[in-house]
Symmetry: none
Subunit: 305 residues, 5 copies
């Protein structure tokens, strides 16, 4: 147990030792074990975007075992996926990598005109029987449906914590309240991270923020208080600060597929700004395996510093 | 226990031996026993479309015992029906054919303007007291009501698995998000199969896909990645691949009544593409019995190869 | 479904189709499938008598998989064992042979001075998750503890039947009320079978009765009514008659190890008297495998007639 | 994941991936990680024998944190203790060593004349909130109270397995049915191990057996079958064989305090006989810390071979 | 919050902040607030010994409000009583003093021949609705009924902790296993404290130990290890050590009524030995009020040091 991991665990004083144990399992696994940094492989795109859009560019990725073994080989801290993907290989890979069961999911066969809505597709019981360390849950702040979503995670998080499981919240502002650009605006991302923290998340996942400011009330303050948001590292620092002054684990998603150079550049800024890590799906599994492993390891190298 | 059935069972590592036993009961019954292929007779049309539309063309089919005996005589792997139909004859035919209790159903006396909705009309307890091997459940991806549907199957599947029952999901995209043509579009069918797999289905039922592509985001990928979708066999292969790289049992419905020639032609393509089998209702029970038996046996012959 | 199996199922009119299905699974499996006769391999001696006394004479039998495969190879109708033995191999052999979970067990490290007592070592839930067709339960009529035992099986049988599982009762008179010779006395065995039938057993297991009569009240009647009990076949007929006039499945245990000749002689008498079959443990698995398979097949040949 | 650990996990086919994950957590922790061997530090003597008798010879051991850190420093696979001891330090040492919650305990302020009885002092919920990998449970075969004990572990084991927790059974024959010498007799130990296996234990703890044979029925068989029991290694081999032919993890306790030389001699014999490891309490924590660490490491060296 | 109270709270790492809050309410109330010491007024004698035996010598004490106001006036840390006593005045004195609901009680209208047994006379719900900080529970180690008692407190403590309530265990060895002298023997008291700690008590109440040693196995160790037990302060130190090395709050009851001089002498020894405080009933409320207040304040002065 490194001093840094011990320090991180000390931030979760209201949680029982079971939750701390599962947090430490993730923090102490893989290439970043003990550093307090995390790189997680999430694969819910089959459900969220459909199989062809997710896997056709690297057909091996149609197979759930591909992602398990990719996460293991590259030394990720954890692998996150919906029920079916975990069920498919949880016996085969039992004990080889910490698992996060993504308990709600949304597909894109129906796109609500206004606000996105996810369904609860698995449960705390499933997480326990599959040997998971945590549950993952997506909320859409900015959506007119946010009340129901906050209430679903409230119940799921309560039960998860009682059972000693950690809670990861994907906090993606989206919906009637937010413009397309606003979804990654610095004020919105910082606010989304704060909401996840307030909902009791142990680990918060947000998108890398842009320098755009969505809300006029916020814009005024950012200007008055001279909050630095020019560089991504500045903005990252602000998001971390907005998450209980850095006392919650905040990791950043990579978003749509892009070039290796672009990813590494982005990750360097995130790391410089104090990000706790990356959660990198499409940019990992849509690459040929060797390339993906190399990329993930490079990302880990950056976070290890 | 043939090597192929053993291989199929190995894909369900998260399930208890009870579920594997019931899967093997279906896989090892009837003319296709041991081949890893399945032909299932489903009769929920009385509930879904009304009795006259379903049975008037072959009045013997008004009697629930007709379907039981048709499934048995033709050597199907299993017979699937709603509560009432199974209750009517489960004692008479106990032990003669594996049963799938269709636990949700939709009727057409009320047609929602936008999205179809099924009701839970029976339970896991019913499945056990009737001696069933599995429950069947319909979801409508693409419907604005999908959230409630996914959450219903989540609970039902959890309980079924705990009681050692297999889970069959009818995944029929339909609703506001999907055009009429889109319901059988290749991208939509592949996506629907993926969703069923992610929801934890052991057996997935979809419609044979057309070469139409519904979603523009998907169309781009199909073109770029040069996914073969010209022939039905190509499309079938793609659907199978989209279902955990062929590690879930995917069977295809026959849809509306058509000529024997058309059916067999379609089935040949499905078989060529690696389909695990057919689930054939109206095309079976709306024909005169002899003809139906002959047709079903022909279909089985094709799958046996 | 043969007429004989259909006839047998017709005796269980109060049971739901799930129970009938599971009864037919056992009646329609193995070499005796469809005959209405049953040979079952039971292996609870490791628990009841200890491992060395049970398995040392054929050390392969220390391995739970040995018994599974012996039951399968010899074509038994079912294999019965306690929780641990079934758990050890239920995945490996899923679907290969009907299973009976022995839900109560007694060991001989403690021998109560007066009356034997078994403990409930597994549950209906276990039977379902392991894919069993039935539960097995031992009662000791003649024991001062019989009230608790009858009430335990009452509850277990009720729950099993609701879940569609068949109920097998091992009815072994023993305890303060019965002399050593009395345990196999014809009046006691017939009475024990009747008690099991009255407790709701679908399948009754008793020991082959001797010509001894234990109870004076009974002796008087046997004499007055001139009940034939000279030959084992006569006595068997009387036991069957005492079990709802032959409308319950009654099978006979083989007891302690003896010569092949003695066993086959006994089985012939049992078969002649109308026994539904044998449940043969030690006489099977304590022999070398080949010999055991040959013996079991010979026994089946006798019952097939 | 070493091939040996993978092989061991394959023996637990009826368990869910959660249980396998927790078994692998223990098998892959500490100095023996990956070898398939285990050394566990159990400290329930404060409860079982009282504080002075347990800790006065090494007063540091009055402090619960002493045992946690001893288990960690010496590289044990797991640390086992009652509720209070785990609660006292589970936050401080969260994630540092796999924990086994001893859910039943017996004290010696009341010594029943005949049969020992333990009380359930904690629950599955406690195990989850404390981050445990397993529950531990003591049974006393040979006791007149065994029925209640078997039924308690039946319920606890069922619930533990459903929640993905492993089950460790301490099987200590004791009570009216057994003489003092009989408690460690080879036939009794082998039988106790078999009972634990049949009750569904994943890990079985017994005492090293002596060459004494307690039960006359067993003595006859040991002689006739020429079962080797002269050396401790022979007897160990027989106990392992009696535990599902070596397909259950069987570990041996050290019993009362003795000299280092005697312990290592005993452990060598156990290892030679195929024991999966040792569970060593008093012989560890009643020694000065340095000596204890050295001893535990020597024991691990022997098991690593 | 004083450093000492903070230190004490740090010992309860497995508990939620609600429990810590309630512990701190008691530790930070009254004349001893912040010292880490506690004096509690317990009044369950009306239930345990009958009203006249308890209150006739100071008739004001028949009124439940007397005890509330006595505890408040004298500056106790908390007041402990059965349901009825608390219900009688909880509104009147709401918020004036921390309350401990004694959830089990024994009366002396029926005295079991062998072992004392208490009844659960109130619940966690009652404790919450009455605004209590803790529940109190009596166990009788050494009683043949201890199994049931440990299991009752297991359940009650689990629920109390989940609701954020602290748990106080009165651990009074008594019953068939213990002689009259043995009830306060040093080995028995130390052992009783250890048992309460292992059962998860936050606060442990025992009687002041005598120099008698009850158990021969213990006597040997006390001699060999030269454990000092001559003075009460020595014995107190040993009891504290036996309670997780001083990391559980252990308080001592005063027992039967005695002279002020004797009480203060005893308390000085307890304090010298590191006791966390006293729980003083009869010696307080059976005295005239002024005298009682003076006595309690003197006791507090001693503990404050």
């Amino acid at each position: 147990m490194t001093p840094r991991v011990r320090e991180i665990l000390s931030w979760y004083g209201a949680d029982n030792p079971g939750v701390l144990t599962n947090l430490s399992r993730m923090l102490n696994h893989g290439k970043l074990a003990g550093t307090g940094k995390m790189v997680i492989l999430p694969v819910d795109q089959g459900f969220e975007h459909g199989p062809a859009r997710s896997f056709a560019m690297n057909p091996d990725a149609y197979d759930p075992s591909y992602h398990y073994s990719l996460a293991i080989e590259s030394g990720c801290n954890a692998y996150a996926a919906p029920l079916g993907s975990l069920e498919a290989c949880a016996r085969e890979f039992a004990g080889e990598i910490p698992l996060i069961l993504k308990v709600n999911n949304s597909d894109s066969l129906y796109k609500p005109k206004s606000s996105p809505v996810s369904a609860m597709t698995s449960s705390i019981d499933d997480a326990l029987r599959l040997g998971c360390c945590a549950i993952g849950f997506t909320i859409y702040p900015g959506s007119s449906e946010r009340k129901a979503q906050y209430e679903e995670i409230q119940k799921a998080a309560h039960d998860a914590k009682q059972a000693g499981l950690a809670v990861v919240i994907w906090s993606y502002a989206r919906g009637e309240g937010i413009s397309k650009d606003g979804e990654t605006a610095i004020d919105v991302i910082a606010y989304s991270a704060q909401i996840a923290a307030q909902l009791g998340a142990h680990i918060i996942k947000v998108k890398p923020p842009t320098a755009h400011i969505e809300q006029s009330d916020a814009a005024k303050v950012y200007k008055e208080q001279n909050i630095k948001i020019e560089r991504l590292s500045d903005r990252t620092r602000h998001v971390i600060e907005s998450s209980f002054n850095g006392k919650r684990i905040v990791i950043f998603s990579g978003g749509e597929a892009k070039s290796t150079e672009d990813i590494l550049k982005e990750v360097k800024e995130l790391a410089l700004g104090g990000a706790f890590g990356s959660i990198m799906g499409r940019n990992a599994f849509q690459r040929p395996r060797k390339e993906a492993v190399t990329l993930l390891k490079s990302v880990m190298d950056i976070f290890r510093g």
